[in-house]
Subunit: 353 residues, 2 copies
DNA sequence: ATCGCAACGGAAAACGTTTTCCGTATAGGT
DNA sequence: ACCTATACGGAAAACGTTTTCCGTTGCGAT
């Protein structure tokens, strides 16, 4: 029922030449008459010949494959990274093996399996609350890049978004718009990202000569509900605050919804900036959220490119922070009409049966 | 710099036996003294030997690998399917090659590449607006399963969520709660899912002897904004409607937000049911949305299992619809307190500096 | 002692390529 | 006619396994 795939031998037979000649003809090698080459190409074409990558890789000692280990279940963060990696690998002939490894033992198994498949490199992605332990290569000398994941091992190469710089970007923007009493509502402090963003927040205040108030930094869950709760608290403060920098777009949405329903105008009374640029949230909020984009696609792309370099080149190490970018929508009060940075929620209200 | 991986020959040398013996010892084959077996295992252990899967696959004519082609960029639909597939493959020693193929030419390239790697099977996933053309295997006889994707080829096996049944579930539920004047707000009609869900909506009304009104089915964008717009329109209708079945959770959220702000109570005045169970939306809405879950994880798992069967078994074909499931939260007015089906948004409002 | 039979483990083929090396024509020069 | 250089294409090794087949060895039974 399942007929065997056509091999180079079949092509050779049909073309009336030896297998070596087929290989040369198809790969543009050696000294062959154009006529022979054509005959072979023809035979290959007619048979629908695909060289067996397995055999090729075995010989070449390269699989033209990279492994991708994603800790944390694929979520809104992993995906852009994934896409970025693919976009870097796409122009090469490399393909990617995907593994999800929620726990260390599964990760171990997957790494083993990748090694057994002789992958040319491994990218580890997926941020946990804190730095992870390095993958155990068991003596194999395969390049590894950590993307959106930080590892203790100083010999590893890690690519991370510049959370601190991103926060700085956001708060500088608010300050530039004349806001002076700025609060920060963010996630659980056991996330390193939370601590870094808070640092960026403080950097910006300090740089502008503003004094941060202890009661102006609120940490809680990464949820709209917490955003609403925090907004209620902040709205009661006197003297009133005039801006809120949120640690995530979900929080920002909760904050904005709550303020609006309390009668506080956003951005007029209080400007709000979020983090993540999760556009399902950010663009659907009223007003749409100005937010920090971590450029995760680009981060993934860089990870792919770096790995490519490392496959047959030097193996750099260290932690690299890639810059974030501010996406200006309307919740900060800066956008006037249709700026290029405004990404409106797609909408065409066609009614029909 | 990159030292060559340890081969079975190295192990044989260290253990003082032949390569064949190593293979037998490690795979529990043949007749060997326990002592020999141990010696080999020891040597392998000490060297950190990993059999080269490439060589193995070449010989076995099986790569223990399946290809996964995801049309449409990985989104909230692809991911649960992906995870489901992985959960089915996880207990086997199969790994998955991931390819994203936005356009036909890329898809072509990826399929070629997968075939060259002699994958044992291919799963195609990712719903477009309508049925896609089958992947071109170019004569190879590799089993293919379409998951969350429908193809014209009648010899193909397609797994789809039962959109029509899911809609029926939702509307039956509303009717069971005593609602009689039910509207339907949904996405663009060029989606087959939209047409199927609308059919389910009508089925349910008809089964209950209710008359559907033309003006009660509104189609537009898959957006909160459209939901709000539609809600405004429906709220003005007299006699008043008492329930809305929405084609997506995003639409439902827009509907609910808009109703609440207009002073219409949900679920008391108007009950709302959504579709997708996208919990970032559904659980964060006030009140949390009762919604239809397409069981995409299970669908992916089934796809994986079916492919496993097809790899060395018969190759069934046809379209199979897997049942949806209603997740009851509060927007329909059925939930009383903490039902097992209520999935509250995680939230712990701890304040801190 | 001789035979037979297990038990053990080695040798070699096979998988499908690539690539090096070599043999044979053919052509060109004297 | 002979030598040589070149063009062409075949033979075979190599990649790292698995598995079949066969040769030894040692043992117990006659």
């Amino acid at each position: 029922m399942t007929k065997p795939p056509v091999t180079i031998r079949d092509v050779a037979r049909l073309a009336g030449v030896s297998v070596g000649t087929v290989s040369k003809a198809l790969n543009g090698y050696g000294q062959l008459r154009e006529q022979t080459r054509d005959a072979v190409r023809n035979a290959a074409e007619r048979l629908g010949f695909r060289p067996n990558d397995l055999a090729q890789s075995l010989l070449r000692k390269r699989s033209f494959t990279v492994g991708l280990i994603s800790t944390d279940s694929y979520g809104r963060f992993s995906i852009p990274v994934l896409e970025g990696i693919e976009s870097a690998l796409e122009p090469t002939r490399l393909s990617v093996f995907l593994c999800r490894a929620d726990d260390p033992v599964r990760e171990r198994r997957h790494v083993d399996s990748l090694l057994a498949k002789r992958v040319d490199g491994i990218i580890v992605t997926g941020r946990r609350t804190d730095r992870r332990s390095p993958v155990d290569l068991g003596g194999a000398s395969v390049p590894v890049v950590y993307a959106f994941a930080q590892v203790a091992d100083p010999r590893a190469l890690c690519l991370l978004p510049d959370d601190r710089g991103g926060a700085r970007l956001a708060v500088d923007h608010l300050i530039g718009l004349g806001r002076r009493r700025i609060a920060h509502v963010t996630g659980p402090v056991d996330f390193e990202a939370v601590r870094k963003r808070r640092q960026g927040f403080r950097d910006a205040l300090a740089a502008a000569g503003l004094r941060g108030r202890a009661g102006h930094v609120l940490t809680g869950a990464w949820s709209e509900a917490f955003g609403r709760e925090a907004a209620q608290y902040l709205a009661g403060l006197r003297p009133a605050i005039d801006a809120i920098f949120c640690g995530s777009d979900q929080i920002a949405r909760g904050v904005i919804d709550s303020l609006r329903e309390t009668g506080v105008r956003v951005p007029d009374d209080v400007a709000v900036v979020g983090f993540d640029n999760w556009d399902v949230i950010a663009a659907a909020t009223r007003p749409p959220i100005t937010t920090v984009d971590m450029n995760l696609h680009e981060l993934g792309r860089q990870a792919g490119l770096r790995l490519l370099d490392m496959i047959d080149g030097p193996r750099p190490s260290g932690v690299e922070c890639l810059p974030c970018r501010l996406v200006v929508r309307q919740s900060c009060g800066a956008a006037t009409g249709a700026s290029a940075d405004i990404l409106p929620e797609h909408h065409d209200g066609a009614y029909a049966a």
